[in-house]
């Protein structure tokens, strides 16, 4: 009767003794208890049949705060006073949520998995919220990496970006990895870019279009970081990206190509050289100018400036088109647009409405140029540029 029990009791002892010493190092975060109470929390979990998601804690987690920081921020939010809870309760609650999010993160990397998995019972509205917030990104961050190659090298720069933007490194990593993940999944895929993103990541329409822009920029490596371009927001670029995807990519003419929405239509870019005649042919340029000036006389506040600058502006716009055959120049598209068009107009204090009048007339009057044969090409080019320039024209 005595034998077996005694043996197992002894065998357990050394383990216990060892652990007694090891313990303090293993849970250093647990010192927040009231002094004098001789206990430490070893394990503390809460599992609901329906997974509890606290939106505020989720945001803190996404923002990359550590548990300690998150608890401190929550304390500062006044939640303790509202609920009468203690700091220990908040700590335990935050830990629970962080654990849950950590477990969910694997699923969030492939959102359809979140819908089909059985482990966490989450109402669809909450699933959508989890996904949407996980893939949401910070304006400041996206401006830093927009148009950059989503590679290891850029990842190393994340440290700098974090310091510069004040976004935690963890959050930067998440956002960067999201961009990269979406890029990897949708590249070389047929069909509409936005639809593909939406299908594979279950994002809202708006967020999916933002991601399409990010992917498009990353693929074409448009330069967005130059000082000149700093005044532009992500929204400005995303707007341009959407127009370009719609009109300048392979998908715009042929719907059955891989990468159709990501790569610009090479043939189209080659053809753009033909537009050069608009500025190279002096007669054509003069005719174009007179058409525009006739139409706009009296309607434009900055008419004289326009008249004086017409040739420069037109040359700028047409040369941008003609240069797009070279990858390097494609990358500099936005720099060129700002340099050649936005800045000159801005220095003459064109109001936006005048820019609109001008661009309308500038595009339209080309149709009246009898010697010019590339009307369709011009429309495809100028239609998009027209939209982009208006968007880019602000302070």
């Amino acid at each position: 009767m005595l034998g077996p029990g005694a043996r197992s009791g002894i065998s357990a002892l050394p383990e216990v003794a060892w652990r007694r010493h090891a313990r303090p190092q293993q849970c250093p975060a647990r010192g927040a208890r009231a002094p004098g109470v001789a206990m430490t929390s070893e394990l503390d979990i809460f599992v609901g049949n329906t997974t509890l998601i606290d939106e505020d804690v989720y945001r803190l987690w996404l923002d990359g705060y550590s548990v300690t920081d998150a608890v401190a921020l929550r304390v500062r939010s006044g939640i303790l006073e509202q609920t009468g809870a203690t700091a220990a309760v908040l700590q335990s609650d935050t830990m629970d949520h962080y654990r849950t999010f950590h477990m969910l993160e694997r699923l969030l990397h492939a959102p359809p998995k979140l819908l089909h998995q059985l482990i966490f019972q989450i109402p669809p509205s909450r699933q959508a919220l989890l996904i949407e917030r996980y893939y949401a990104f910070d304006e400041a961050f996206v401006r830093e990496v927009l148009g950059k190659k989503l590679s290891k090298g850029t990842k190393k720069d994340l440290d700098d970006i974090s310091t510069k933007t004040g976004i935690t490194l963890k959050s930067c990593r998440r956002q960067f990895d999201n961009f990269k993940r979406v890029f990897k999944v949708v590249e070389e895929m047929r069909g509409s870019l936005v639809d593909n993103i939406q299908q594979h990541f279950l994002l809202s329409d708006r967020l999916a279009r933002d991601y399409a822009a990010i992917v498009f920029f990353a693929n074409n490596r448009f330069e967005t970081g130059k000082k000149k371009l700093q005044y532009l927001s992500f929204g400005d670029f995303a707007f341009c990206a959407e127009l370009m995807i719609q009109n300048w990519t392979l998908g715009a003419v042929d719907s059955q190509m891989d990468d159709m929405d990501m790569d610009l239509d090479k043939e189209f870019l080659q053809d753009l050289k033909e537009l050069k005649v608009l500025v190279a042919d002096k007669d054509l340029l003069d005719l174009h100018k007179s058409l525009v000036c006739t139409a706009l006389r009296g309607k434009l506040g900055v008419f004289s400036e326009m008249e004086a600058n017409f040739k420069n502006l037109s040359r700028g716009l047409v040369n941008v088109a003609a240069k797009l055959t070279h990858n390097k120049d494609v990358r500099d598209l936005f720099v060129d647009l700002v340099e050649k068009f936005v800045e000159p107009c801005r220095s003459d204090h064109w109001p936006l409405s005048d820019v609109r009048f001008f661009l309308n007339q500038y595009s339209a009057s080309v149709h009246s140029l009898d010697g010019f044969r590339h009307q369709t090409l011009w429309d495809r080019y100028m239609g998009t540029l027209h939209g982009c320039l208006l968007r880019l024209y602000h302070d």
Partner: protein, 1062 residues
């Protein structure tokens, strides 16, 4: 050859990558039942294999059908080495064996591995063809239904409630020392899972056989437990209540069909044994008598309990005052005889199961109306045993004998209380090394014989029953004889009917009867206690424990009584006292739901008496404490809305307690006891409770009384099925499990420090729960079930499972208000009253949305004070998306079907369509779960689902899982490991229910959660056993809405599709 089991393996999904080279898996499936195994083809290079196998057919005995689980193993094919197991699925096919339950099991089951957890899912279809078996001597009990629910299941009618069934089976534990065996991963744990699955099947079959012998067709309140006795083996035991149930076609009354006059009216003694004390192997011990002399006050009076050991060195103790007593009145005697005969008769036939009739026990906690006649009080018995190896698993006599003894004792306690039956009966064990405490408890009661046996109740008795038992207060009336009470108690005339006597306090283990009149709301009351003990071996250890037990019981009881008084309440329901044994301490945790029963007298306050009345400052201190206590009582009365009607003395007529007369509650340690007061005590006519502060210990106790914080406003909690005083539940429920382990760091702990730690642990846990569930306010935590275990020397583990249910506060106010008005018979519906309600409504609507302001706070804090402005990055905020997000997934799904690749227009039109679509979706957002790919399965420890109707019971869910890890740190430490495991267990339960065609588990219980860790080796292991009833429920609102909403929903979805495709 009475059964054919057919299994089809359809497909797998989300399988893990087993071949690193290709990042794919070559999976196949082994299907095993009994000794027969089938295999599917290997589906090469896929993580989502489509096997679509033929039907694998197993021709088996129905005995095997009941015992064996269906084992499905998913493996990765490997040409050169042994095939790797991906994981397993065990399917209990028992639900397919009843005619009314599930007909097919079909669905996605998580593939489970003891090391890796869930690894993908497998789609399986299982069917059973049963042939009729005419063999009378069969060993199977197919067709007997099992319910965990401890009341008559909702869509059934009880024809007869036969009574207690129990059984246990024992076996060697394949892994009794996990630390030694953990080096052989999986193998031993899988063997253990398989064995326990097999043992539960066998146990259920054996219980079923007993039910068939009793001519029943179902077991209600089925409770199956495992005792992991370590080296001495594995015991699986179960108790339940055998019934004959009829499926209800319409919600008809519960009355049995016929009541023919009984033929026999002879008096059959309740117990074959005329004197229950002769069961004791020795004379009544001084220990026992001591206990009673320590507690001559009321504190002990509602609970008859005993503790004993089976060791020869400590004589067994029994209930000291177990005399049968004269019957109080002719009616009562008649009633009792009647019921006794009803209970005994059916056991009359001389076959081997007649022994079972000895125990008129019922595991039910809620009863058909009229079933419960009187309630005596809680009866409990504990026994300390030394475990030794079970030599012959086929003859588990020792364990049987142990339990038989305990039950015998319970029965004699019940008899001493003048009761012939025990309801709300349960059994439990606590094991530490080779010492085991067996506990049993229940509520002594007098039952209405009508339900126990149909057709034997004499007509006139029936009549008398009807007229003599006012349903609302009858159960409170004492069943024992007033003149010869088994314990000193203070009786008054019932405050409701004023005809019968009632005790001043009532403790029970059952749920509050539905027809009982309660004033105000109830609340969770817990008594918590720790006692250090010296480490010892074997017999010495058992002796030490059994010496401590009576003191613990006494103190737990005292605490309960004090806390009950402090709440201003007079009855406890659902009382569950758990005593846990550890290496160097004993823990006691009692949980119950306190209520104010209108039939019982108003409880007196608590008075504090100092020991040295001469000291002025001391006196001042005492009076300060007294004031605090009085304030707390007053506050609690307000909080729980306890405002009993004032009844003048003349109406009651009989012994009205004199307010100033005092009783003295003597602490067990206090040596001083005034002879005169004690004499006075035995008459028990006082209303105030005196706490004598004679030492610092007592001071601590009083302090600890006052430290229990009430739940934050908007929260209520109880451990019964429903909260007394709340009846307007809304449909939102959240079942959860929370586990905490604390390490006591100090080596030389005192009892006091230990008590404080334990108290803090429980209080903090509750506080955490309230905080976590704050978004559900107003809500009630129901069926709060605390389990304490002491896994190691200095570790205390507390596991809580409960369900939070929301309720409509406005309605609650209204009903309570009208209730109060009615009970106070205040006809004053003047302007003041009319104004008050709308005002309260306003404040409610404000307070019921505590989150939005909180969020704003957080945001503003983080943008202003929280984070330096420079650090704060403007995020791309999708402001209105909270409204829209529910629709997106639906939208995407629609699009997925109708997607047109590569058209520029698609994007444009979607843009145009989306605002319109939004509007549509918002309208449709009422049933948001409808489109979810994974069906929602609700889980609840209650027997019902608020706002819904259970239409079908699909069978019992009884699952056992072991999870182990050798990379504890990598999995997020102990918390990460256990969090993931419990989530997986929930997932597997839900998957099984869904596969049975159900959408909820009711009466869910986590019976065991044994967690062991060894951070030194980076290892941990956990074992979980859960059970419940799989059901199909229909929302009451859906019943009406579905028909009207169907066409519009269709129209909307087609509209949206149209927009997207253009």
């Amino acid at each position: 050859m009475p059964g054919k089991l057919k299994v089809k393996i359809v497909a797998g999904r989300h399988l893990p990558v087993m071949d690193r080279a290709s990042d794919l898996t070559d999976a196949f499936v082994e299907v095993k039942f009994g000794n027969t195994t089938f295999k599917t083809d290997v589906y090469l290079k896929s993580l989502n294999p489509q096997w679509n196998s033929e039907w694998f057919k197993f021709e088996v005995d129905d005995e095997d059908l009941q015992d064996e689980p269906l084992q499905i193993t998913v493996l990765d094919h490997d040409t050169y080495s042994a095939n790797d197991a991906i994981g397993k699925v065990y399917i209990d096919i028992d639900p397919l064996l009843y005619s009314e339950a599930a007909t097919v099991i079909s669905g996605w089951f998580p593939i489970y591995d003891t090391i890796h957890g869930i690894r993908g899912e497998i789609n399986v279809v299982v069917k059973v063809d049963l042939f009729n078996d005419l063999n009378r001597f069969r060993q199977s009990s197919c067709g007997v239904k099992f319910f965990c629910t401890t009341s008559i299941p909702k869509c059934y009618r009880a024809v007869i409630i036969h009574g207690f069934v129990e059984e246990l089976v024992v076996n060697e534990d394949p892994e009794y020392q996990w630390i030694d065996r953990i080096r052989t991963p999986r193998a031993s744990n899988e063997a253990r899972q398989r064995l326990i699955s097999l043992m539960s099947g066998e146990l259920q079959r054996k219980i079923g056989l007993k039910v068939l012998e009793m001519r029943g067709n179902a077991v209600v309140g089925y409770l199956q437990c495992f005792d992991l006795e370590g080296e001495s083996g594995l015991v699986v035991r179960a108790i339940g209540t055998a019934c004959t149930l009829d499926k209800l076609s319409s919600p008809a009354a519960f009355l049995p069909a016929c009541n023919s006059p009984s033929k026999e009216m002879k008096e059959i003694p309740f117990n074959e044994d005329p004197n229950p004390n002769t069961h004791s192997s020795g004379p009544s011990t001084p220990l026992k008598n001591q206990t009673y002399s320590f507690s001559p006050s009321k504190s002990y009076s509602r609970q008859s309990s005993s503790s004993d050991t089976d060791l020869s060195l400590t004589p067994k103790t029994g209930m000291g005052s177990g005399s049968a007593g004269k019957e109080g009145g002719p009616f009562k005697a008649l009633l009792r005889q009647q019921t006794q005969s009803a209970l005994e008769q059916r056991g009359g036939s001389p076959h081997r199961f007649c022994r079972r009739r000895e125990f008129p026990f019922f595991t039910l906690t809620a009863f058909p109306p009229g079933f419960l006649v009187h309630v005596g009080g809680v009866v409990s018995a504990r026994s300390v045993k030394l475990l030794d190896r079970i030599h012959n698993p086929d003859e588990p006599e020792t364990r049987d004998a142990w339990w038989a003894e305990i039950r015998q004792e319970i029965k004699s306690h019940a008899k001493a209380l003048g009761c012939h039956a025990v309801v709300g009966y349960s059994e439990s064990t606590s094991i530490c090394e080779e010492v085991c405490i067996l506990s049993a408890s229940g509520t002594a009661a007098v039952l209405n014989p009508r339900f126990l046996q149909d057709g034997t109740v004499e007509g006139c008795l029936e009549q008398r029953l009807e007229e003599n038992l006012p349903t609302r207060c009858g159960f409170c009336h004492i069943p024992y004889d007033e003149l010869n009470m088994p314990f000193p108690a203070h009786l008054t005339y019932c405050y409701n009917c004023r005809k019968q006597k009632v005790p001043d306090v009532l403790f029970t283990t059952i749920d509050l009867p539905t027809d009982a009149t309660v004033i105000g709301k109830g609340c969770l009351i817990q008594a918590r206690l720790c006692r250090l003990k010296k480490k010892a071996q074997a017999e010495a250890n058992a002796t030490a424990i059994s010496n401590l037990l009576p003191f613990m019981e006494y103190e737990v009881h005292t605490q309960l009584m004090n806390k009950l008084k402090l709440k201003g309440m007079n009855a406890l329901f659902g009382l569950r006292i758990q005593i846990t044994v550890g290496e160097n301490m004993l823990m006691g945790l009692a949980s119950a739901t306190g209520v104010y029963l209108a039939a019982l007298p108003t409880p007196g306050g608590i008075q504090i008496a100092g020991k040295t009345p001469n000291d002025g400052s001391y006196e001042q201190h005492i009076s300060h404490m007294q004031k605090k206590i009085n304030d707390t009582i007053a506050k609690n009365k307000e909080l729980y809305e306890i405002s009993p009607p004032e009844i003048s003395e003349e109406i009651i007529g009989s012994p009205i307690p004199e307010p100033r007369q005092r009783s003295r509650l003597l602490r067990s340690q206090s040596e001083s006891s005034d002879e005169v007061t004690e004499l006075d005590l035995s008459h028990g006519k006082k209303d105030a409770f005196v706490l004598e502060i004679d030492d610092t210990d007592a001071m601590e106790d009083v302090h600890s009384l006052l430290t229990d914080v009430p739940p934050p406003s908007g929260f209520y909690s109880c451990n019964t099925e429903i909260m007394p005083g709340i009846n307007n539940w809304t449909s939102e429920i959240q079942m959860f499990t929370s586990v905490r382990v604390i390490r006591l760091s100090s080596l030389n702990l005192t009892n006091q420090a230990l008590n404080k730690n334990f108290n803090d642990l429980c209080e903090n846990l509750l506080k955490s729960l309230y905080f976590k569930l704050r978004s559900m306010i107003p809500c009630c935590l129901c069926h709060v079930n605390f389990t304490v275990s002491l896994p190691e020397d200095e570790l205390i583990q507390v596991t809580v499972t409960a369900v939070a249910i929301t309720f409509d506060k406005n309605q609650a106010l209204q009903t309570t208000k009208t209730h109060v008005e009615k009970s106070l018979q205040r006809a004053s519906t003047d302007n003041e009253e009319l104004l008050q309600f709308p005002l309260e409504l306003c404040s409610d609507s404000l307070s019921s949305h505590p989150l939005p302001p909180a969020k704003e706070h957080l945001e503003s804090a983080s943008s202003n004070s929280g984070i330096p402005a420079a650090q704060r990055a403007t995020s791309v905020d999708y402001s209105s998306f909270a409204d829209r997000c529910s629709s997106w997934i639906e939208l995407i799904k629609l699009k997925a079907q109708t997607i047109r690749r590569g058209s520029i227009k698609t994007t444009v039109t979607v843009e145009k369509a989306s605002p319109v679509g939004d509007g549509n979706f918002r309208n449709r957002s009422a049933p948001p779960c409808a489109n979810s790919t994974v069906g929602v399965v609700k889980m609840t420890p209650l027997s019902f689902i608020p706002g819904a109707k259970i239409t079908k019971y699909l069978g019992i869910i009884n699952m056992f899982f072991i999870r182990e890890t050798t990379s504890l740190r990598e999995e997020g430490g102990v918390s990460g490991f256990l969090h993931a495991f419990i989530a997986e267990v929930f997932a597997m339960v839900r998957a099984h229910v869904a596969a049975l065609g159900g959408n909820a588990v009711v009466s869910y219980i986590m019976k065991q959660c044994v967690f062991m860790e060894n951070p030194n080796k980076n290892q941990a292991q956990c074992l979980i056993n859960v059970s419940g009833d799989a059901v199909v429920f229909v929302r009451e609102s859906d019943l009406e809405v579905v028909s009207t909403q169907q066409p519009t929903a269709n129209c909307q979805s087609s509209c949206t599709e149209g927009e997207v495709t253009t």
